[in-house]
Symmetry: C2
Subunit: 75 residues, 2 copies
């Protein structure tokens, strides 16, 4: 589980997680101290300027996370 | 946990999860039968044409999901 994620503390802001991938674009998630999350997607060859940013509050992040990990089961 | 997610079976493709939100853009995740996931983000007022799409393989999706749900703990 610890593979492929690089964790960086952003002083005063929160924690940055960079998810590496051989086949796809680079992804980063910033978890802010207030609970909001931002997903950044970068194009190959341009790792400075994110191509897209998705902002999620804590509740949305939990929902999206559950779907992504396959732990969401409907009613 | 079952709140705020609308699940639709996409025949022959997989499952679509639409995550509703009062404050933010609409989000949808498609989990394909081959394990790949796509995150779609829509602008308010335009729920037909996704503003961004992020494609993830199963491994990446697990990593991103763990970070989003707060269940990722580094080494």
């Amino acid at each position: 589980m610890g593979d492929g994620i690089e964790v960086t503390e952003l002083f005063g802001i929160g924690t940055k997680y960079v998810i590496s991938s051989t086949t796809h674009q680079k992804l980063a998630v910033i978890v802010r101290k207030d609970g909001t999350r931002e997903i950044y997607a970068f194009s190959k060859g341009d790792e400075e300027q994110p191509k897209v940013v998705i902002r999620l509050d804590e509740e949305e992040a939990r929902r999206v996370g559950a779907v992504l990990t396959g732990t969401y089961y409907g009613d």
